[in-house]
Amino acid sequence: MSASIKTLVKDGLWDNNVVFAQMLALCPSMAVTTSGTNGLGMGLATTAVLAASNILISLIRGVVSPQVRIPVFIILIAGLVTLVDMALDAWLHELYKVLGIFIALIVVNCAILGRAEAFASRNGVWASCVDGLAMGLGFTFALTLIGLIREFLGSGTLFAQAPQLLGAGFAFLEIRLHERGGALLMILPPGAFAVLGFLLAGKRLLDARRQAGQKSRQKTSDAEESAAPVDTR
């Protein structure tokens, strides 16, 4: 069990990352990542909804028939998001004023439906909960990274307005690197595509290196086993 949890977490954060590997949820990823703070806010709000929807769908997976599963999931997810939206507005109004803009966007996040379909409808409640959290945190990581890069290149800040999202105690996160703005293009939609493209290429490169490293290790051990020396070039 613990091994499978480890795989789930590893999948969510890196190997099967919502943005970097599955290429899902690109609409919110592109739209809100104009700053690291925005990415973080969207990521955390999505994580909460994703974990909750995974739990809910895993609970009812026994009664849902395959023919109508998609509309059922959509109703549940849309209902859940609206529920969270209203509850935050009523009882955590200060937080809502900051996060409110992100919550409505979660409805259009296909990653949530994706996880419901691919994981929660086939797995137990506990595993689904872990999967939701891991996928959500992977999403948060991706969005925060894209946001930070775009913000750094586009407006010369890091985590601008972080205190408004996380509270005054996080003012130290907010860094203004230079006064004279930056490349506006990075804040605009093309900047999102460019940054995501480079990040994807970077991830492929890292994964390829890692694989090559594993292969060459294997080859060396094979070579050691066979008596004759093998040219590994």
């Binding site: 739209a31 104009t34 028939s65 609206t82 529920l83 209203m86 009882w91 506006l184």
Partner: protein
């Protein structure tokens, strides 16, 4: 096993879908009802805070929320106008205007002095793009303060791109254009209803 057989029944799908939809609707209706009061209170508190913020310090010595008039400004609902008094005479009014932004409605609160000059403007609610259009919020940039002191006469009510006197925001043109137009229409409403606003009876 019984459930698996049931799932094959042609009626199972519509009944399941209907049940889920019904359950979701009932839950949402219940939560909407349970939160309505709290949301109303939170919004009233927000309004009270922004009423104070939109006026210069110490401008009013009365309770603005209690001193309001309703005028018919051509919209569906009557326009609620809150009046700021000093020693009993109306020195300025505060009211909401709504602009059509990039992501939906932008609700703006504006304060106008008795001669039609702007005392202050704040955005109460909007769904503009984070990082671009949201610079109309006072928390994100000082752009909105550019309206203070302006009046219908003496300023060109358009963003600079359209040949006007107001800065646009980097990467966002539709949002500031919507705010400028909304504030301008607010000033026009004020000019049309000036007498009723300054001297009319308060309505409860």
């Amino acid at each position: 096993m019984a459930l698996e057989n049931l799932k094959e029944h042609p009626l199972y799908q519509p009944v399941l879908l209907g049940a889920v939809a019904l359950l979701a609707s009932v839950t949402l209706a219940w939560v909407a009802d349970a939160t309505r009061e709290a949301i109303g209170e939170a919004e009233a508190a927000d309004l009270r805070d922004s009423l104070v913020e939109v006026l210069p310090d110490g401008f009013a010595d009365n309770n603005l929320l209690a001193d309001r008039v309703e005028i018919d400004a051509g919209g569906e609902d009557p326009l609620l106008v809150y009046r700021a008094r000093q020693g009993g005479t109306v020195k300025g009014v505060v009211f909401k205007v709504v602009g059509k932004g990039y992501g939906g409605e932008i609700v703006i609160l504006m304060a106008v002095d008795k001669d039609g000059g702007i005392l202050g403007v704040r955005v109460l609610k909007h769904t503009e793009t984070p990082g671009l259009g949201d610079k109309i919020e006072i928390a994100k940039s000082g752009w909105i303060n550019g309206f203070t002191g302006k009046a219908l006469d003496g300023a060109v009510w358009a963003v600079k791109k359209d040949g006007g006197g107001f800065d646009q925001l980097a990467g966002a043109t539709i949002t500031p254009r919507a705010v400028v137009n909304a504030v301008k229409s607010g000033l026009e409403t004020f000019a049309r209803h000036k007498a009723a606003l300054l001297e009319g009876e308060r309505s409860s």
